[in-house]
């Protein structure tokens, strides 16, 4: 149960400088459920519940894996380009919580 080591940690506040220009994907241990207000996400590795406050952000997250980079995923979800920095901060917080991760070709999960 190596992935449990971070169960007790609190994800740091959104890291600066989320890279919108690389490909991201939902962490394979994360389950995501649409809700009227946005979505709930549950990470089976660290057992944390998270949420997205808008449906648009849900669309962005759902589109990450298929998009060549996060920026494209945002734009395809209808994000106003002027709001990209805000989306970047949102995605950074998800990355900090290990809910999304840089897309890899390897099947190995980061600890």
């Amino acid at each position: 149960m190596t992935t449990q080591t971070n169960r007790m940690s609190v994800p740091p506040p959104a890291a600066q400088g989320f890279d919108l220009d690389v490909a991201w994907e939902l962490h394979p241990s994360v389950s995501i459920r649409p809700e009227p207000f946005g979505a709930l996400m549950y990470h089976f590795g660290n057992r944390r519940l998270s949420f997205l406050k808008t449906r648009q952000l849900l669309d962005v997250v759902n589109g990450l894996a298929a998009a060549p980079d996060a920026r494209t995923a945002c734009l395809e979800a209808g994000v106003d380009p002027a709001h990209l920095p805000a989306l970047g901060r949102a995605l950074a917080s998800l990355a900090a919580g290990d809910l999304i991760r840089p897309k890899t070709t390897s099947t190995e999960e980061p600890a």
Binding site: M1, M8, F51, Q56
Partner: protein
């Protein structure tokens, strides 16, 4: 209904505050209060059978109920939870691991994308089981202990139960399962041992989880003896503040918020809104601490199944309406305390829209003085008919009588019959574990929720 989630205002994604991109004005907690299409998680007591007879058992467990869900019925419930995308279930009992199909159901749930956290007194957590559990990311384990010393623990949970729990934790540690939970119901007798509990948890690389004693089930019998005295409540509050997020609380203690800052959590009673209880016979209650007809919403065997109960039951619809603070409305701490725990009020005879019996401002005590007549009793009692050997071995008299609660009115427990599983079969009293103690609102998935103001996401440990 007590609940608790952090006073959080989970950030909503509002790129342009004056013009939110999508709904979400207001606090997320307010949306949760109005209910979700499916619970985030729920408590599922798999059996009323238990090898122990803890004096404060919230479900008055002991004997198996012949009407308990069959394996096929339990699988059907899991199928439904999967369709509803319920993230995980908190499995308890009784002692769930004594159900012969327990491990099968755990596997079935995780194979169907429903995570499992189960509460146990440790009786079946041997080395082999611990090793197997350590291999799954989708199973979490909570071991119950209500005293940092055998003397304090066994008084409440039965002779030998301390050793059982410690052995289980050693097995978990040896198997490399780090981060399992050591779950403690805080009582008048163990509140001075919080540092010791923490040390035990640290020793086994477990995480300490403290929850509140509730006057539910047999807990009503020992409430007067075991619930915290006023100075102890402050002591607990200070300890929780000092230990922060390292210690989980299942959001049980939001009624302590009036001492100062709110503790981590959402301060929302999740009952019937984001959580609920499925009992061993399939009855669906608003919360694990409210096993009473008053809070019975339906049964998973009803037409429409669990989903039908969750989405359409009158009781749950009612709970999802904005609630009145009643006598507490004018209290400056109402926003974080929310009047405390519904079950604690109900089983002490207090009105649901008034103060909690343990209101830290003392309003509960005066309200209790005004209670007339008898207080509601649990609708079910599956307590052992006779004292267990682990209880007979006690040298010290237990202040309460176990298992002889008179069935007041309500449905009395089915008679002990041949088909009742004898939880003591082949049981070594010296290894007596205990049934999971009153779990706190751990059922409340938002426990420890950490809002990140300004962001459109939030998260919390559960």
């Amino acid at each position: 209904m007590t609940a608790v989630l952090e006073p959080a205002t989970p950030a909503g994604f509002t790129p342009n505050p004056s013009k939110p991109a999508t709904p979400s004005p207001g606090r997320l907690v307010d949306k949760f209060a109005l209910g979700l299409d499916a619970p985030i998680c729920l408590t599922w007591e798999l059996t009323y059978a238990c090898n122990l007879a803890c004096v404060h058992c919230l479900s008055s467990s002991g004997r198996r109920d012949p009407r308990e869900l069959t394996t096929a019925e339990a699988e059907a419930v899991i199928d439904e939870l999967e369709r509803m995308q319920v993230f995980y279930v908190n499995i308890g009992g009784g002692e769930p691991t004594v159900r012969p199909d327990f491990w099968h159901l755990v596997d079935y749930a995780t194979e169907h994308h429903v995570g499992v956290k189960f509460s146990t007194n440790g009786v079946r957590i041997n080395k082999e089981v611990a090793e197997r559990l350590a291999k799954s990311d989708y199973v979490d384990v909570q071991i119950s202990l209500d005293g940092a010393t055998a003397e304090v623990n066994d008084y409440v949970r039965g002779a030998g139960s301390y050793d059982t729990a410690m052995r289980a934790m050693q097995n978990m540690y040896d198997a490399g399962f780090h981060g399992f939970k050591l779950s403690v119901v805080v009582t008048r007798q163990n509140v001075d041992q919080l540092d010791e509990f923490k040390a035990i948890a640290d020793k086994y690389k477990a995480q300490l989880r403290l929850t509140r004693l509730r006057p539910s089930g047999r807990g009503a019998d020992v409430w007067d003896e075991l619930h915290l005295l006023a100075p102890q409540q402050k002591q607990l509050y200070d300890w929780l503040v000092a230990n922060g997020e390292e210690v989980l609380t299942g959001d049980s203690f939001f009624h302590l918020a009036a001492f100062g800052d709110a503790l981590p959590g959402l301060n929302l009673c999740g009952a019937g809104r984001v959580v609920c209880l499925i009992d061993p016979v399939g009855d669906v209650y608003a919360c694990p601490f409210a096993i009473h007809d008053e809070f019975l919403a339906g049964n998973v065997r009803d037409e429409g199944g669990f989903k039908g109960v969750w989405q359409t039951s009158e009781l749950f619809q009612e709970l999802r309406q904005p609630q009145s603070g009643g006598a507490c409305s004018s209290c400056q701490f109402f926003d974080s305390c929310r009047g405390g725990c519904m079950a604690a009020k109900f089983f002490t005879g207090l009105p649901l829209d008034g103060p909690d019996p343990e209101c830290v401002r003392g309003f509960g005590e005066s309200a209790l003085d005004a209670v007339e007549g008898s207080v509601p009793k649990p609708s079910l009692d599956h307590s052992h008919k006779n004292p267990l050997r682990s209880q007979k071995l006690k040298k010290k008299p237990v202040a309460l009588t176990l298992g002889v609660r008179p069935a007041t009115g309500v449905v009395s427990a089915p008679p002990a019959r041949g088909c009742d599983e004898n939880p003591l079969a082949g049981f070594d009293p010296s290894a007596a574990g205990v049934r999971p103690p009153t779990r706190g609102c751990d059922e409340n998935p938002l426990t420890g929720f950490t809002p990140q103001p300004g962001l459109e996401t939030g998260s919390q440990a559960v």
